[in-house]
Amino acid sequence: MSNVNAIEISNLSKTYPRTTQTALSDLSLTVERGEIFGYLGPNGAGKSTTIRIMLDLIRPTSGKVLLMGRDAQRESVHVKHFIGNLPGEIRLWEHLNGRQILHYLAGLRPNVDLNDAYQMAERLQLNLSLKAGNYSTGNKRKLGIVQAMMHHPPLLILDEPTTGLDPLVRQTFHEMLMEARDAGATVFLSSHVLSEVQAICDRVAILRAGTLQTVQSIEALSHARSHIVTIYTRDALLAERWERIDGVKEVNITSGCLRLHVMGAIDAVIKQAATITIDDMTIEEPRLETLFMTYYGDKQA
Protein backbone atom coordinates (compact mmCIF):
# COMPACT_ATOMS: atom_id res chain seq x y z
CA MET A 1 0.00 0.00 0.00
CA SER A 2 2.84 2.38 0.82
CA ASN A 3 4.16 2.22 -2.75
CA VAL A 4 0.93 3.08 -4.49
CA ASN A 5 0.42 6.48 -5.99
CA ALA A 6 -1.87 8.86 -4.16
CA ILE A 7 -3.90 9.53 -7.29
CA GLU A 8 -4.02 7.64 -10.55
CA ILE A 9 -6.40 8.92 -13.18
CA SER A 10 -6.68 6.85 -16.37
CA ASN A 11 -8.46 7.96 -19.55
CA LEU A 12 -11.07 9.88 -17.63
CA SER A 13 -13.89 11.46 -19.62
CA LYS A 14 -17.08 13.10 -18.52
CA THR A 15 -19.93 14.26 -20.70
CA TYR A 16 -22.96 15.74 -19.02
CA PRO A 17 -25.99 13.99 -20.46
CA ARG A 18 -28.36 16.95 -20.42
CA THR A 19 -26.05 19.45 -22.10
CA THR A 20 -23.90 16.88 -23.98
CA GLN A 21 -21.04 19.18 -23.00
CA THR A 22 -17.70 17.38 -22.65
CA ALA A 23 -16.25 18.50 -19.34
CA LEU A 24 -13.26 16.14 -19.40
CA SER A 25 -11.67 14.37 -22.28
CA ASP A 26 -9.37 11.35 -21.91
CA LEU A 27 -7.54 12.70 -18.87
CA SER A 28 -4.66 10.64 -17.49
CA LEU A 29 -2.65 11.82 -14.52
CA THR A 30 -0.57 10.43 -11.68
CA VAL A 31 0.13 12.13 -8.37
CA GLU A 32 2.77 10.57 -6.18
CA ARG A 33 2.39 10.26 -2.46
CA GLY A 34 3.80 13.09 -0.40
CA GLU A 35 3.73 15.80 -3.05
CA ILE A 36 1.76 19.00 -3.32
CA PHE A 37 0.26 18.86 -6.74
CA GLY A 38 -1.23 21.91 -8.40
CA TYR A 39 -4.12 21.54 -10.79
CA LEU A 40 -4.26 24.67 -12.85
CA GLY A 41 -6.74 25.87 -15.37
CA PRO A 42 -9.05 28.73 -16.17
CA ASN A 43 -12.64 28.66 -14.93
CA GLY A 44 -14.61 25.98 -16.75
CA ALA A 45 -11.50 23.98 -17.63
CA GLY A 46 -12.77 20.88 -15.83
CA LYS A 47 -10.88 21.14 -12.54
CA SER A 48 -13.96 20.87 -10.35
CA THR A 49 -15.36 18.07 -12.51
CA THR A 50 -12.17 16.07 -11.97
CA ILE A 51 -12.39 16.63 -8.23
CA ARG A 52 -16.08 15.74 -8.08
CA ILE A 53 -15.35 12.47 -9.87
CA MET A 54 -12.52 11.76 -7.44
CA LEU A 55 -14.96 12.29 -4.59
CA ASP A 56 -17.61 10.13 -6.28
CA LEU A 57 -20.09 12.98 -6.33
CA ILE A 58 -20.39 12.53 -10.08
CA ARG A 59 -19.72 9.45 -12.15
CA PRO A 60 -17.33 9.40 -15.12
CA THR A 61 -18.55 8.64 -18.62
CA SER A 62 -15.44 6.53 -19.05
CA GLY A 63 -12.10 6.02 -17.38
CA LYS A 64 -11.03 5.28 -13.86
CA VAL A 65 -9.73 7.03 -10.76
CA LEU A 66 -7.67 5.28 -8.11
CA LEU A 67 -7.09 7.08 -4.83
CA MET A 68 -4.48 5.48 -2.59
CA GLY A 69 -4.77 2.44 -4.81
CA ARG A 70 -8.53 2.11 -4.37
CA ASP A 71 -11.24 2.66 -6.95
CA ALA A 72 -12.79 6.04 -6.20
CA GLN A 73 -16.18 4.92 -7.50
CA ARG A 74 -16.55 1.31 -6.42
CA GLU A 75 -14.84 1.76 -3.05
CA SER A 76 -15.83 5.35 -2.49
CA VAL A 77 -16.90 4.97 1.15
CA HIS A 78 -13.61 3.31 2.02
CA VAL A 79 -11.59 5.89 0.10
CA LYS A 80 -13.29 8.77 1.87
CA HIS A 81 -11.74 7.70 5.16
CA PHE A 82 -8.46 8.96 3.74
CA ILE A 83 -9.63 12.13 2.06
CA GLY A 84 -10.05 15.65 3.28
CA ASN A 85 -11.94 17.81 0.85
CA LEU A 86 -12.50 21.52 0.53
CA PRO A 87 -15.17 22.27 -2.10
CA GLY A 88 -14.70 25.14 -4.52
CA GLU A 89 -17.78 26.93 -3.30
CA ILE A 90 -18.24 26.10 0.34
CA ARG A 91 -21.76 26.40 1.67
CA LEU A 92 -22.61 25.66 5.27
CA TRP A 93 -25.65 25.10 7.45
CA GLU A 94 -26.39 28.73 8.19
CA HIS A 95 -28.38 28.06 11.37
CA LEU A 96 -25.45 26.25 12.99
CA ASN A 97 -22.36 27.86 14.47
CA GLY A 98 -18.84 26.88 13.52
CA ARG A 99 -18.41 24.59 16.50
CA GLN A 100 -21.68 22.77 15.79
CA ILE A 101 -20.75 22.28 12.14
CA LEU A 102 -17.37 20.80 13.06
CA HIS A 103 -19.04 18.57 15.63
CA TYR A 104 -21.61 17.42 13.06
CA LEU A 105 -19.00 16.61 10.40
CA ALA A 106 -16.56 15.07 12.89
CA GLY A 107 -19.34 12.71 13.95
CA LEU A 108 -19.46 11.31 10.44
CA ARG A 109 -15.86 10.18 10.66
CA PRO A 110 -14.47 7.70 13.14
CA ASN A 111 -12.34 8.93 16.03
CA VAL A 112 -11.86 12.55 15.07
CA ASP A 113 -10.27 14.60 17.82
CA LEU A 114 -12.11 17.91 17.87
CA ASN A 115 -9.27 19.51 19.82
CA ASP A 116 -7.19 19.28 16.65
CA ALA A 117 -9.97 21.04 14.77
CA TYR A 118 -10.16 23.80 17.39
CA GLN A 119 -6.39 24.27 17.19
CA MET A 120 -6.57 24.66 13.43
CA ALA A 121 -9.44 27.14 13.77
CA GLU A 122 -7.35 29.14 16.22
CA ARG A 123 -4.38 29.15 13.88
CA LEU A 124 -6.61 30.47 11.12
CA GLN A 125 -8.15 33.04 13.51
CA LEU A 126 -11.63 31.63 13.04
CA ASN A 127 -14.33 32.39 15.60
CA LEU A 128 -16.28 29.16 16.00
CA SER A 129 -19.03 30.61 18.14
CA LEU A 130 -20.52 32.61 15.25
CA LYS A 131 -23.35 31.17 13.18
CA ALA A 132 -22.31 30.20 9.68
CA GLY A 133 -24.95 32.58 8.32
CA ASN A 134 -22.91 35.43 9.77
CA TYR A 135 -19.59 34.22 8.37
CA SER A 136 -17.84 36.16 5.64
CA THR A 137 -16.66 34.30 2.54
CA GLY A 138 -13.18 34.11 4.06
CA ASN A 139 -14.46 32.67 7.33
CA LYS A 140 -16.52 30.06 5.50
CA ARG A 141 -13.37 29.12 3.63
CA LYS A 142 -11.45 28.85 6.92
CA LEU A 143 -14.08 26.53 8.34
CA GLY A 144 -13.89 24.53 5.13
CA ILE A 145 -10.14 24.19 5.56
CA VAL A 146 -10.53 23.05 9.17
CA GLN A 147 -13.16 20.41 8.33
CA ALA A 148 -10.98 19.16 5.48
CA MET A 149 -7.89 18.80 7.67
CA MET A 150 -9.26 17.99 11.13
CA HIS A 151 -9.01 14.21 10.69
CA HIS A 152 -5.45 14.46 9.33
CA PRO A 153 -6.17 12.78 6.02
CA PRO A 154 -3.32 11.32 3.97
CA LEU A 155 -4.88 12.89 0.88
CA LEU A 156 -6.12 16.46 0.79
CA ILE A 157 -8.21 17.52 -2.19
CA LEU A 158 -8.65 21.27 -2.18
CA ASP A 159 -10.59 23.21 -4.78
CA GLU A 160 -9.51 26.86 -4.96
CA PRO A 161 -8.62 26.84 -1.25
CA THR A 162 -7.44 30.41 -0.77
CA THR A 163 -10.24 32.29 -2.52
CA GLY A 164 -11.40 35.02 -0.14
CA LEU A 165 -8.58 34.54 2.39
CA ASP A 166 -6.50 37.54 3.45
CA PRO A 167 -2.73 37.34 2.82
CA LEU A 168 -1.82 36.56 6.45
CA VAL A 169 -4.27 33.70 6.74
CA ARG A 170 -3.21 32.49 3.31
CA GLN A 171 0.35 32.32 4.61
CA THR A 172 -0.78 30.32 7.67
CA PHE A 173 -2.72 27.99 5.42
CA HIS A 174 0.33 27.45 3.21
CA GLU A 175 2.32 26.59 6.34
CA MET A 176 -0.33 24.07 7.35
CA LEU A 177 -0.13 22.47 3.91
CA MET A 178 3.65 22.25 4.15
CA GLU A 179 3.33 20.61 7.57
CA ALA A 180 0.85 18.12 6.17
CA ARG A 181 3.21 17.36 3.29
CA ASP A 182 6.14 16.96 5.69
CA ALA A 183 4.06 14.51 7.72
CA GLY A 184 3.51 12.44 4.59
CA ALA A 185 0.24 13.75 3.24
CA THR A 186 -0.44 14.32 -0.43
CA VAL A 187 -2.12 17.57 -1.43
CA PHE A 188 -4.07 17.94 -4.65
CA LEU A 189 -4.82 21.59 -5.04
CA SER A 190 -6.81 23.16 -7.83
CA SER A 191 -6.34 26.82 -8.52
CA HIS A 192 -6.43 29.43 -11.19
CA VAL A 193 -3.89 31.59 -9.32
CA LEU A 194 -0.50 30.91 -10.84
CA SER A 195 1.53 32.57 -8.07
CA GLU A 196 -0.11 30.48 -5.35
CA VAL A 197 0.59 27.25 -7.17
CA GLN A 198 4.14 28.36 -7.79
CA ALA A 199 4.66 29.16 -4.12
CA ILE A 200 3.65 25.82 -2.66
CA CYS A 201 3.41 23.09 -5.29
CA ASP A 202 5.98 20.53 -6.33
CA ARG A 203 4.38 19.71 -9.67
CA VAL A 204 1.63 21.23 -11.72
CA ALA A 205 -0.85 19.96 -14.26
CA ILE A 206 -2.45 22.44 -16.62
CA LEU A 207 -5.91 21.72 -17.83
CA ARG A 208 -7.77 23.47 -20.56
CA ALA A 209 -11.24 22.84 -21.95
CA GLY A 210 -11.26 19.43 -20.31
CA THR A 211 -7.96 18.36 -21.83
CA LEU A 212 -4.66 18.00 -20.02
CA GLN A 213 -2.14 20.37 -21.61
CA THR A 214 0.94 19.50 -19.63
CA VAL A 215 2.33 18.23 -16.35
CA GLN A 216 5.43 20.12 -15.28
CA SER A 217 7.66 20.50 -12.29
CA ILE A 218 7.34 23.89 -10.66
CA GLU A 219 10.85 24.80 -11.84
CA ALA A 220 9.88 24.23 -15.43
CA LEU A 221 6.74 26.28 -14.98
CA SER A 222 8.73 29.09 -13.39
CA HIS A 223 11.01 29.12 -16.38
CA ALA A 224 7.99 29.35 -18.61
CA ARG A 225 6.35 32.01 -16.51
CA SER A 226 5.82 35.47 -17.95
CA HIS A 227 5.23 38.98 -16.62
CA ILE A 228 3.87 42.21 -17.97
CA VAL A 229 6.20 45.04 -16.94
CA THR A 230 4.92 48.59 -17.35
CA ILE A 231 7.31 51.51 -16.83
CA TYR A 232 6.28 55.17 -16.80
CA THR A 233 9.16 57.52 -17.55
CA ARG A 234 9.95 60.97 -18.93
CA ASP A 235 13.19 59.69 -20.53
CA ALA A 236 13.42 58.88 -24.20
CA LEU A 237 12.69 55.21 -24.89
CA LEU A 238 14.33 53.14 -27.58
CA ALA A 239 12.62 49.88 -28.39
CA GLU A 240 15.82 48.19 -29.56
CA ARG A 241 17.45 48.51 -26.13
CA TRP A 242 14.62 46.51 -24.57
CA GLU A 243 14.14 44.03 -27.37
CA ARG A 244 17.75 42.91 -26.94
CA ILE A 245 17.11 41.71 -23.38
CA ASP A 246 16.74 37.94 -22.98
CA GLY A 247 13.16 36.90 -22.43
CA VAL A 248 11.52 40.08 -23.69
CA LYS A 249 8.88 38.91 -26.13
CA GLU A 250 7.06 42.10 -26.89
CA VAL A 251 7.82 45.79 -26.52
CA ASN A 252 5.17 48.49 -26.68
CA ILE A 253 6.07 52.14 -26.37
CA THR A 254 3.48 54.90 -26.16
CA SER A 255 4.01 58.45 -24.86
CA GLY A 256 5.95 58.05 -21.60
CA CYS A 257 4.90 54.44 -21.14
CA LEU A 258 6.87 51.30 -21.87
CA ARG A 259 5.08 47.97 -21.76
CA LEU A 260 7.04 44.72 -21.91
CA HIS A 261 5.98 41.12 -22.06
CA VAL A 262 8.81 39.21 -20.39
CA MET A 263 9.25 35.46 -20.37
CA GLY A 264 11.10 33.84 -17.48
CA ALA A 265 13.29 35.87 -15.12
CA ILE A 266 12.77 39.64 -15.08
CA ASP A 267 16.13 40.41 -13.46
CA ALA A 268 17.70 41.76 -16.67
CA VAL A 269 14.70 43.98 -17.31
CA ILE A 270 14.89 45.46 -13.80
CA LYS A 271 18.61 46.17 -14.26
CA GLN A 272 17.93 47.87 -17.57
CA ALA A 273 15.10 49.84 -15.95
CA ALA A 274 17.54 51.07 -13.30
CA THR A 275 19.39 53.03 -15.98
CA ILE A 276 16.44 55.36 -16.62
CA THR A 277 14.37 57.71 -14.43
CA ILE A 278 11.21 55.89 -13.43
CA ASP A 279 8.02 57.75 -12.47
CA ASP A 280 6.11 54.59 -11.82
CA MET A 281 6.43 50.90 -12.50
CA THR A 282 4.14 47.88 -12.26
CA ILE A 283 4.86 44.20 -12.69
CA GLU A 284 1.79 42.13 -13.34
CA GLU A 285 1.36 38.44 -13.49
CA PRO A 286 -0.46 37.64 -16.71
CA ARG A 287 -3.80 35.91 -16.46
CA LEU A 288 -3.65 32.21 -16.88
CA GLU A 289 -5.42 32.62 -20.19
CA THR A 290 -2.54 34.79 -21.41
CA LEU A 291 -0.06 32.12 -20.35
CA PHE A 292 -1.94 29.57 -22.40
CA MET A 293 -2.00 31.92 -25.36
CA THR A 294 1.74 32.33 -25.04
CA TYR A 295 2.70 28.71 -24.55
CA TYR A 296 0.06 26.72 -26.29
CA GLY A 297 -0.81 28.95 -29.22
CA ASP A 298 -3.83 30.99 -30.17
CA LYS A 299 -5.64 28.07 -31.69
CA GLN A 300 -6.09 26.59 -28.24
CA ALA A 301 -7.36 29.79 -26.70
Binding site: L92, L108, P110, N111, D113, Q119, P154
Partner: protein, 305 residues
Protein backbone atom coordinates in the same frame (compact mmCIF):
# COMPACT_ATOMS: atom_id res chain seq x y z
CA UNK B 1 3.23 8.41 13.31
CA UNK B 2 0.01 8.65 15.28
CA UNK B 3 -2.69 6.23 14.30
CA UNK B 4 -5.78 8.37 14.46
CA UNK B 5 -8.13 5.50 13.72
CA UNK B 6 -7.68 4.17 17.24
CA UNK B 7 -9.26 5.68 20.33
CA UNK B 8 -7.12 8.21 22.16
CA UNK B 9 -7.09 7.78 25.87
CA UNK B 10 -4.20 10.08 26.62
CA UNK B 11 -4.94 13.64 27.79
CA UNK B 12 -5.43 16.11 24.97
CA UNK B 13 -2.53 18.46 24.27
CA UNK B 14 -2.85 22.13 25.01
CA UNK B 15 -3.35 24.51 22.13
CA UNK B 16 -0.14 25.01 20.21
CA UNK B 17 -0.19 27.09 17.09
CA UNK B 18 2.84 25.37 15.60
CA UNK B 19 1.85 21.80 16.42
CA UNK B 20 2.60 19.69 13.34
CA UNK B 21 -0.08 17.61 11.72
CA UNK B 22 0.14 13.89 12.25
CA UNK B 23 -1.22 11.57 9.67
CA UNK B 24 -2.80 8.17 9.99
CA UNK B 25 -1.41 5.14 8.30
CA UNK B 26 -3.63 3.49 5.74
CA UNK B 27 -5.17 0.30 6.98
CA UNK B 28 -7.08 -2.40 5.21
CA UNK B 29 -10.83 -2.13 4.75
CA UNK B 30 -11.89 -4.52 7.46
CA UNK B 31 -9.73 -2.77 10.03
CA UNK B 32 -11.30 0.59 9.38
CA UNK B 33 -13.49 1.74 12.23
CA UNK B 34 -17.10 2.30 11.32
CA UNK B 35 -18.84 5.59 11.87
CA UNK B 36 -21.72 5.45 14.27
CA UNK B 37 -25.05 5.71 12.47
CA UNK B 38 -27.60 8.27 13.55
CA UNK B 39 -25.78 11.58 13.14
CA UNK B 40 -27.82 12.63 10.12
CA UNK B 41 -31.00 11.36 11.76
CA UNK B 42 -30.54 13.31 15.00
CA UNK B 43 -29.44 16.48 13.20
CA UNK B 44 -32.48 16.30 10.90
CA UNK B 45 -34.79 15.60 13.84
CA UNK B 46 -33.38 18.58 15.74
CA UNK B 47 -33.87 20.78 12.70
CA UNK B 48 -37.47 19.51 12.44
CA UNK B 49 -38.21 20.09 16.14
CA UNK B 50 -39.93 23.43 15.68
CA UNK B 51 -42.02 22.07 12.81
CA UNK B 52 -43.08 19.10 14.92
CA UNK B 53 -44.17 21.38 17.78
CA UNK B 54 -46.05 23.77 15.48
CA UNK B 55 -47.81 21.10 13.41
CA UNK B 56 -48.55 18.96 16.44
CA UNK B 57 -49.91 21.90 18.40
CA UNK B 58 -52.06 23.26 15.57
CA UNK B 59 -53.62 19.88 14.85
CA UNK B 60 -54.08 19.09 18.52
CA UNK B 61 -55.80 22.43 19.09
CA UNK B 62 -57.97 21.84 16.04
CA UNK B 63 -59.03 18.43 17.30
CA UNK B 64 -59.68 19.84 20.78
CA UNK B 65 -61.75 22.69 19.34
CA UNK B 66 -63.78 20.29 17.19
CA UNK B 67 -64.45 18.07 20.18
CA UNK B 68 -65.54 21.06 22.25
CA UNK B 69 -67.87 22.27 19.49
CA UNK B 70 -69.33 18.81 18.86
CA UNK B 71 -72.12 18.89 21.49
CA UNK B 72 -73.49 22.12 19.98
CA UNK B 73 -72.98 20.87 16.44
CA UNK B 74 -74.84 17.68 17.32
CA UNK B 75 -77.93 19.69 18.32
CA UNK B 76 -78.24 21.47 15.01
CA UNK B 77 -76.32 19.05 12.80
CA UNK B 78 -76.48 21.70 10.12
CA UNK B 79 -73.51 20.76 7.96
CA UNK B 80 -74.41 17.09 7.85
CA UNK B 81 -78.02 17.90 6.94
CA UNK B 82 -77.02 20.23 4.12
CA UNK B 83 -74.44 17.86 2.65
CA UNK B 84 -76.70 14.90 3.10
CA UNK B 85 -79.55 16.73 1.38
CA UNK B 86 -77.31 17.43 -1.58
CA UNK B 87 -76.14 13.83 -1.69
CA UNK B 88 -72.53 14.93 -1.29
CA UNK B 89 -71.73 13.56 2.10
CA UNK B 90 -70.63 10.09 1.14
CA UNK B 91 -68.83 11.38 -1.92
CA UNK B 92 -66.79 13.93 0.02
CA UNK B 93 -65.38 11.35 2.33
CA UNK B 94 -65.19 8.59 -0.22
CA UNK B 95 -67.18 6.38 2.10
CA UNK B 96 -69.70 4.82 -0.21
CA UNK B 97 -70.64 2.03 2.13
CA UNK B 98 -70.90 4.11 5.27
CA UNK B 99 -74.31 4.84 6.65
CA UNK B 100 -75.20 8.53 6.41
CA UNK B 101 -76.43 8.36 9.97
CA UNK B 102 -72.87 7.63 11.01
CA UNK B 103 -72.02 11.25 10.30
CA UNK B 104 -74.23 12.40 13.09
CA UNK B 105 -71.96 10.55 15.49
CA UNK B 106 -68.70 12.01 16.82
CA UNK B 107 -66.74 9.57 14.63
CA UNK B 108 -68.52 10.71 11.49
CA UNK B 109 -68.22 14.34 12.51
CA UNK B 110 -64.47 13.97 13.11
CA UNK B 111 -63.93 12.21 9.79
CA UNK B 112 -65.93 14.83 7.93
CA UNK B 113 -64.19 17.77 9.56
CA UNK B 114 -60.57 16.62 9.72
CA UNK B 115 -59.62 12.99 9.39
CA UNK B 116 -61.08 12.47 5.94
CA UNK B 117 -58.70 15.15 4.68
CA UNK B 118 -55.75 14.20 6.84
CA UNK B 119 -53.56 12.67 4.08
CA UNK B 120 -53.96 15.82 2.00
CA UNK B 121 -53.24 18.05 4.97
CA UNK B 122 -50.24 15.97 5.99
CA UNK B 123 -48.88 16.01 2.47
CA UNK B 124 -48.42 19.75 3.04
CA UNK B 125 -46.00 18.73 5.80
CA UNK B 126 -44.38 15.70 4.21
CA UNK B 127 -43.68 17.07 0.72
CA UNK B 128 -41.66 20.13 1.87
CA UNK B 129 -39.89 17.98 4.46
CA UNK B 130 -38.80 15.48 1.81
CA UNK B 131 -37.68 18.28 -0.51
CA UNK B 132 -35.66 19.90 2.28
CA UNK B 133 -34.11 16.58 3.21
CA UNK B 134 -32.54 16.00 -0.19
CA UNK B 135 -32.97 18.78 -2.71
CA UNK B 136 -32.33 21.70 -0.35
CA UNK B 137 -29.13 20.06 0.94
CA UNK B 138 -28.04 19.52 -2.65
CA UNK B 139 -29.01 23.03 -3.79
CA UNK B 140 -27.27 24.59 -0.78
CA UNK B 141 -24.12 22.56 -1.44
CA UNK B 142 -24.10 21.07 2.07
CA UNK B 143 -24.71 17.61 0.59
CA UNK B 144 -21.20 17.79 -0.91
CA UNK B 145 -19.71 18.17 2.56
CA UNK B 146 -21.69 15.24 3.92
CA UNK B 147 -21.01 12.89 1.04
CA UNK B 148 -17.27 13.51 1.08
CA UNK B 149 -17.18 11.90 4.51
CA UNK B 150 -17.32 8.08 4.73
CA UNK B 151 -21.10 8.27 4.76
CA UNK B 152 -22.79 5.93 2.25
CA UNK B 153 -25.45 7.63 0.19
CA UNK B 154 -28.07 5.06 1.19
CA UNK B 155 -27.46 5.84 4.84
CA UNK B 156 -27.86 9.57 4.27
CA UNK B 157 -31.22 9.06 2.57
CA UNK B 158 -32.42 6.47 5.05
CA UNK B 159 -31.56 8.58 8.09
CA UNK B 160 -33.18 11.64 6.55
CA UNK B 161 -36.32 9.64 5.75
CA UNK B 162 -36.39 8.15 9.24
CA UNK B 163 -36.20 11.61 10.77
CA UNK B 164 -39.29 12.62 8.79
CA UNK B 165 -41.10 9.42 9.77
CA UNK B 166 -40.34 10.04 13.44
CA UNK B 167 -41.43 13.67 13.10
CA UNK B 168 -44.75 12.53 11.67
CA UNK B 169 -45.14 9.98 14.46
CA UNK B 170 -44.54 12.71 17.04
CA UNK B 171 -47.22 14.90 15.47
CA UNK B 172 -49.68 12.00 15.31
CA UNK B 173 -48.86 11.11 18.90
CA UNK B 174 -49.59 14.67 20.06
CA UNK B 175 -52.89 14.55 18.20
CA UNK B 176 -53.78 11.17 19.64
CA UNK B 177 -53.07 12.24 23.22
CA UNK B 178 -55.13 15.40 22.76
CA UNK B 179 -58.01 13.45 21.27
CA UNK B 180 -57.97 10.92 24.09
CA UNK B 181 -57.94 13.66 26.74
CA UNK B 182 -60.73 15.78 25.26
CA UNK B 183 -62.99 12.87 24.33
CA UNK B 184 -62.69 11.44 27.83
CA UNK B 185 -63.34 14.85 29.36
CA UNK B 186 -66.49 15.73 27.41
CA UNK B 187 -69.51 13.81 28.70
CA UNK B 188 -71.52 14.08 25.47
CA UNK B 189 -68.84 12.19 23.53
CA UNK B 190 -68.96 8.44 23.77
CA UNK B 191 -65.53 7.52 22.55
CA UNK B 192 -63.30 4.59 23.51
CA UNK B 193 -59.56 5.09 23.95
CA UNK B 194 -58.71 2.67 21.10
CA UNK B 195 -60.57 4.83 18.61
CA UNK B 196 -58.12 7.78 18.57
CA UNK B 197 -55.26 5.28 18.46
CA UNK B 198 -56.74 3.59 15.42
CA UNK B 199 -57.50 6.78 13.62
CA UNK B 200 -53.98 8.18 14.10
CA UNK B 201 -52.34 4.91 13.11
CA UNK B 202 -54.48 4.75 9.99
CA UNK B 203 -53.04 8.08 8.77
CA UNK B 204 -49.54 6.61 8.94
CA UNK B 205 -49.47 4.06 6.04
CA UNK B 206 -50.87 6.42 3.40
CA UNK B 207 -48.47 9.13 4.63
CA UNK B 208 -45.58 6.72 4.11
CA UNK B 209 -46.60 6.28 0.47
CA UNK B 210 -46.69 10.06 0.02
CA UNK B 211 -43.28 10.44 1.68
CA UNK B 212 -41.61 7.63 -0.26
CA UNK B 213 -43.02 8.83 -3.57
CA UNK B 214 -41.87 12.40 -2.89
CA UNK B 215 -38.38 11.19 -1.94
CA UNK B 216 -38.25 9.22 -5.17
CA UNK B 217 -39.13 12.38 -7.11
CA UNK B 218 -36.54 14.35 -5.13
CA UNK B 219 -33.68 12.02 -6.07
CA UNK B 220 -34.83 11.74 -9.67
CA UNK B 221 -35.66 15.30 -10.63
CA UNK B 222 -33.46 18.39 -10.45
CA UNK B 223 -35.92 21.15 -9.63
CA UNK B 224 -37.55 21.26 -6.18
CA UNK B 225 -40.61 22.99 -7.63
CA UNK B 226 -41.13 20.24 -10.18
CA UNK B 227 -40.72 17.53 -7.55
CA UNK B 228 -43.05 19.33 -5.12
CA UNK B 229 -45.61 20.03 -7.84
CA UNK B 230 -45.66 16.43 -9.05
CA UNK B 231 -45.92 15.09 -5.51
CA UNK B 232 -48.87 17.41 -4.79
CA UNK B 233 -50.45 16.42 -8.09
CA UNK B 234 -50.04 12.77 -7.13
CA UNK B 235 -51.89 13.26 -3.83
CA UNK B 236 -54.64 15.53 -5.15
CA UNK B 237 -55.02 13.49 -8.34
CA UNK B 238 -55.54 10.33 -6.31
CA UNK B 239 -58.04 12.07 -4.09
CA UNK B 240 -60.14 13.42 -6.93
CA UNK B 241 -60.02 10.21 -8.95
CA UNK B 242 -61.30 8.42 -5.86
CA UNK B 243 -64.02 11.04 -5.37
CA UNK B 244 -65.10 10.78 -9.02
CA UNK B 245 -65.05 6.99 -8.95
CA UNK B 246 -67.46 7.19 -6.00
CA UNK B 247 -69.88 9.19 -8.08
CA UNK B 248 -69.81 7.16 -11.29
CA UNK B 249 -70.20 3.55 -12.40
CA UNK B 250 -67.87 3.86 -15.40
CA UNK B 251 -65.68 0.72 -15.62
CA UNK B 252 -62.43 2.69 -15.92
CA UNK B 253 -63.02 4.29 -12.55
CA UNK B 254 -63.71 0.90 -11.03
CA UNK B 255 -60.24 -0.17 -12.16
CA UNK B 256 -58.67 3.08 -10.98
CA UNK B 257 -60.26 2.65 -7.55
CA UNK B 258 -58.14 -0.39 -6.84
CA UNK B 259 -54.84 1.31 -7.57
CA UNK B 260 -55.91 4.49 -5.86
CA UNK B 261 -54.07 5.68 -2.80
CA UNK B 262 -57.26 6.72 -1.00
CA UNK B 263 -58.84 3.30 -1.51
CA UNK B 264 -56.58 2.27 1.36
CA UNK B 265 -57.63 5.09 3.61
CA UNK B 266 -61.04 4.97 5.30
CA UNK B 267 -61.14 7.34 8.23
CA UNK B 268 -64.71 6.57 9.43
CA UNK B 269 -64.21 2.81 9.18
CA UNK B 270 -60.93 3.11 11.13
CA UNK B 271 -62.78 4.99 13.87
CA UNK B 272 -65.83 2.78 14.04
CA UNK B 273 -64.64 -0.68 13.07
CA UNK B 274 -60.94 -0.53 13.81
CA UNK B 275 -58.07 -0.85 11.38
CA UNK B 276 -57.25 -3.63 8.99
CA UNK B 277 -53.70 -4.13 10.23
CA UNK B 278 -52.64 -6.53 7.46
CA UNK B 279 -53.79 -4.10 4.80
CA UNK B 280 -52.13 -1.15 6.53
CA UNK B 281 -48.85 -3.03 6.88
CA UNK B 282 -49.11 -3.98 3.21
CA UNK B 283 -49.35 -0.29 2.36
CA UNK B 284 -46.31 0.45 4.55
CA UNK B 285 -44.41 -2.36 2.79
CA UNK B 286 -45.31 -0.88 -0.59
CA UNK B 287 -44.03 2.50 0.64
CA UNK B 288 -40.82 0.72 1.62
CA UNK B 289 -40.52 -0.61 -1.91
CA UNK B 290 -40.87 2.88 -3.39
CA UNK B 291 -38.26 4.09 -0.91
CA UNK B 292 -35.93 1.31 -2.02
CA UNK B 293 -36.26 2.55 -5.59
CA UNK B 294 -35.41 6.04 -4.35
CA UNK B 295 -32.27 4.69 -2.66
CA UNK B 296 -31.17 2.88 -5.83
CA UNK B 297 -31.75 6.03 -7.87
CA UNK B 298 -29.85 8.15 -5.33
CA UNK B 299 -26.89 5.75 -5.39
CA UNK B 300 -26.64 6.04 -9.18
CA UNK B 301 -27.08 9.73 -9.80
CA UNK B 302 -24.63 12.61 -10.08
CA UNK B 303 -24.76 15.05 -7.18
CA UNK B 304 -25.00 18.78 -7.71
CA UNK B 305 -25.23 18.71 -11.49
Amino acid sequence: MTDLWTERDEPQPELQADRPINLPSITTTFLLPKTRPGRIFWRALRDNAMGIVIWGSVFSLLLAALALIFPYQQESNTLVNILSGLGLLERLTGAREIDIAAFSTFEGYLALQVLGWAPIIFSAYLIPQAINAVMAEERDGTLDLLLTTPLPRWRFLTEKALAIVVSLMCILFMMMVTLIIVTQAIAEIDFAIWQPMNSMWHIFPISMIILAFTLFLCVTLRQPRTAGGLAALFVLGNYFIRAISDMTDLPIFNILRHINLFEYYASVAALTEGVNLARDLGVVAFAGLIFLLAVVQFQRRDIGV
